[in-house]
């Protein structure tokens, strides 16, 4: 993957993509604002959500053990996966043990994060995505570009073409009469997916929440496909990040209000499925929970960055982000695009690669993401914190061990410039000399800048350097001892 600026440069030129994203994000953004404004206790709910998540994270080891006992007592099996490879291996072996070669999936960020579909394919197992948008992405041989609406970058015409062309390769072909009307597209997907649901013996899911006290898992969705995946197969395997835990069943009361309003602008989401282990007469006979770390414990070790683990993946921050709106989700190069991706990915994966080191800079720090976040993650604060990690290095935790990392490559010139600028700024006389020099040479200033400054002057006029700085004006009009305010005359 190229670094963010290069990828974003390409996507800003794609006018269709920009139009699709602009339309979609502006619509949902306005609806969300209305849905949130309906609740006069929103700010208390938000504070409660943040507090519950913080408590869970503070005592994560305790709650995870409690969860493990509760799930086991309810007839489930719990597996611990330190990283993506281990999680993929566990899931592959579990599927192989059933003798099946096909699985149905309810949309899951965690399995996207670890690249599970690819790992299963290598083992000869086909995973069918059943969420409508995930289906579009899968058929289009594409990647998701939004947390909630993975195919947000596609319009109806493109979706029709993908269905017509690709559905047959994956199962039931698209009907002859397919148009780009939403009802037609939904019906085509329904017919295609129904076959999958009825044949599937193994289902794979993520979870929005896990309740430590009862061992209950929760999936919140709007299409009902998730419920099919969770109830019809004989074996259910859920892959869930360890941070998704809440202590008690009652805590759900807070999140089931925060999540739908923030994400889909609905008062209540259409389908909330909860399951606790297995039940004799109903649902899957075998249930496996794979608890995924994959960088989360390391993130937890960072006192500023850990707030990113509060995230409930509502996607509100994506929908208000002006950078996401122009760059599109693919530019972020991970399962987590937008503002949350810009702080989560470099923590889960580290800042060693060029792409990951560029993510903390994929923001103008406008603060809109923090304002909408239902669990009050101060995304700008974490962005700046991670920028420091990129340019200065410092202490981090890598797979549970404290270590000190070096600055990412390629910041030496910038660091030297920042130091030089700070030195001048810390010596006002030097600053003044520089200003006077700039004023005196103002007639010769180029209209276009060389080097990194070119990026500025390509699309914007440079401000003209004035004849006299404020400092000099003050001194000229108010006298040398201007320090003590205006001189009496």
């Amino acid at each position: 993957m190229p670094a963010f600026p290069a990828a974003a440069d390409a996507s800003t030129r794609n006018t269709q993509l920009r139009a699709n994203l602009r339309h979609a994000t502006h619509t949902i953004r306005a609806k969300r604002a209305t849905a949130v404004a309906e609740l006069d206790d929103w700010s208390s709910l938000r504070a409660a959500g943040a507090a519950i998540k913080d408590r869970s994270l503070r005592h994560l080891d305790h709650y995870l053990e409690q969860l493990e006992s509760a799930v086991t007592a309810a007839g489930g099996h719990v597996h611990w996966a330190a990283d993506a490879d281990e999680a993929n291996r566990i899931v592959t072996e579990l599927v192989q043990a059933t003798g099946e070669r096909e699985v149905v999936k309810v949309k899951s960020m965690a399995t996207q994060e670890i690249g599970l579909n690819g790992a299963l394919a290598t083992a000869g197992i086909t995973a069918y995505e059943t969420d409508l948008a995930e289906l579009i992405v899968q058929l289009g041989d594409d990647l998701p570009s939004h947390i909630l609406v993975p195919a947000i970058h596609r319009n109806r015409g493109e979706i029709r073409d993908i269905f017509a062309e690709k559905m047959a390769q994956w199962g039931r072909p698209a009907p002859e009469w397919l148009t780009d009307a939403p009802a037609d597209l939904a019906e085509a997907a329904r017919l295609h997916l129904r076959e999958k649901f009825l044949n599937a013996k193994v289902g794979i899911s993520g979870a929005n929440f896990m309740v430590a006290e009862t061992g209950t898992l929760v999936v919140v969705e709007s299409e009902g496909n998730g419920r099919m995946c969770l109830t019809l197969p004989e074996t259910l395997i859920s892959v869930v990040g360890i941070e998704k835990i809440v202590p008690t069943f009652q805590d759900l009361e807070v999140f089931l209000q925060l999540l739908p309003r923030s994400s889909t602008a609905e008062r209540m989401n259409p389908y909330t499925s909860t399951w606790t282990g297995t039940t004799d007469a109903d649902g899957p006979r075998t249930f496996h929970l794979v608890l995924l770390d994959n960088g989360r414990t390391d993130t937890l070790a960072d006192t500023v960055g850990r707030q990113a683990l509060r995230c409930i993946r509502c996607s509100a921050c994506l929908n208000v982000c002006p950078v996401y709106e122009r760059a599109g989700g693919h530019a972020y190069g991970s399962a987590y695009p937008g503002p949350i991706g810009a702080i989560l990915t470099p923590q889960l994966r580290g800042v060693q690669s060029e792409l990951d080191a560029s993510l903390p800079y994929a923001s103008s720090l406008c603060g809109a993401c923090y304002e909408v976040c239902p669990v009050a993650i101060d995304i700008p604060e974490v962005l700046v914190h991670l920028r420091e990690r990129v340019v200065e290095g410092g202490p981090v935790s890598v797979r549970g061990t404290r270590t000190v990392i070096k600055p990412a490559k390629g910041h030496a010139a910038e660091r030297a410039a920042m130091r030089a600028a700070r030195w001048a700024l810390d010596h006002p006389r030097v600053l003044r000399t520089g200003q006077r020099l700039a004023s005196r040479t103002r007639r010769f200033h180029p209209r276009r800048l060389p080097g990194p400054g070119r990026a500025w002057s390509d699309t914007r006029e440079l401000p003209k350097v004035p004849e006299e700085s404020f400092r000099d004006w003050w001194q000229r009009t108010r006298g040398e001892s201007g320090t003590e305010g205006r001189k009496t005359t």
């Binding site: 600026p5 974003a8 440069d9 800003t12 030129r13 920009r18 002006p322 950078v323 122009r326 800079y361 994929a362 923001s363 103008s364 720090l365 406008c366 603060g367 809109a368 923090y370 604060e381 700046v384 920028r387 420091e388 990690r389 990129v390 340019v391 200065e392 920042m418 130091r419 600028a421 700070r422 700024l425 810390d426 006002p428 600053l431 700039a438 990194p452 400054g453 990026a455 500025w456 390509d458 699309t459 914007r460 006029e461 440079l462 401000p463 350097v465 004035p466 006299e468 700085s469 404020f470 400092r471 004006w473 003050w474 001194q475 108010r478 201007g482 320090t483 003590e484 305010g485 205006r486």
Partner: protein, 250 residues
């Protein structure tokens, strides 16, 4: 009441007229202002790019320069926000890194007396009608740091609404970032330019003669984009509007 001006590095170097307007305005309102020459930059470019250590001498400098004053007034939402939001963080981190309490104390001294200009007018001086006259159609872009970090709310708009002759028109998508973001404008030039272009288009569509902000740095980005597009809409700092009078339109 001892009031100091914090004329930020951008005001000082590129927009001295804004600083002069602040002086004119505050003096007209009977405030005697000082300009401690030991002042410099708030450290925002360094801090926001990840060079926290480079900002520490600037925090010290700020606290020392304004030590003798009760209020510090800055015609910049983002610089005031830098002091109020980030100085305490810089101090706390220095203390946590075992470098003592000194920087945290410096930050603690600077924070409560630092005001953005429109806050100072409405909250300290308690004026909304500053006796200004500005016979133009103006639209207002609430800069992100003023809007979200400082929570300026309606203050700038109410000040503008009280200006004689001024016709205030609403800006569509006003709350959206203009795309400046300091080094963001250079590091992610394509996205920044796309954001700027959308903002400029919205501004031009209002039919206003001028677009007003509380921050010279956003003004530089917006103005540069408008100029490149050949637009005649002028960027203007709120201080320059508020300093204008019947006899002397800024």
């Amino acid at each position: 009441m001892r009031v100091a001006l914090f004329i930020t590095c951008v005001n000082d170097t590129l927009y001295p007229h804004t600083g002069q307007a602040v002086v004119t305005l505050l003096e007209r309102l009977g405030v005697e202002v000082g300009f401690p020459e030991a002042q410099s930059c708030c450290g925002q470019p360094q801090f926001n790019t990840g060079y926290r250590h480079e900002t520490e001498p600037l925090v010290r400098r700020y606290a020392a320069a304004f030590h003798d004053y009760d209020y510090v007034v800055a015609p910049s939402g983002s610089c005031a926000a830098m002091v109020r939001d980030n100085y305490p963080r810089i101090g706390a981190k220095a203390a946590a890194e075992g470098r003592g309490q000194e920087l945290a104390d410096a930050a603690a001294e600077a924070v409560p007396k630092t005001y953005e200009l429109t806050e100072f007018l409405t909250d300290v001086l308690k004026v909304t009608d500053v006796g200004a006259y500005y016979p133009h159609t103006v639209t207002y872009h609430p800069t992100c740091h003023g809007l979200r970090m400082l929570g300026l709310g309606d203050r700038p708009r109410s000040l503008l609404a009280a200006v004689k002759g001024l016709n205030l028109v609403e800006l569509p998508g006003a709350d959206e970032c203009c795309g400046f973001g300091g080094t963001f404008a250079v590091k992610n030039a394509a996205v920044s330019a796309a954001m700027g272009a959308d903002k400029a288009r919205n501004i031009t569509a209002t039919g206003a003669e001028a677009v007003c902000t509380v921050d010279n740095s956003c003004q530089m980005h917006i103005g540069g984009t408008l100029a490149r597009q050949g637009s005649t809409v002028r960027p203007v700092h709120i201080a320059e509007i508020l300093a204008s009078t019947e006899g002397n339109v800024w």
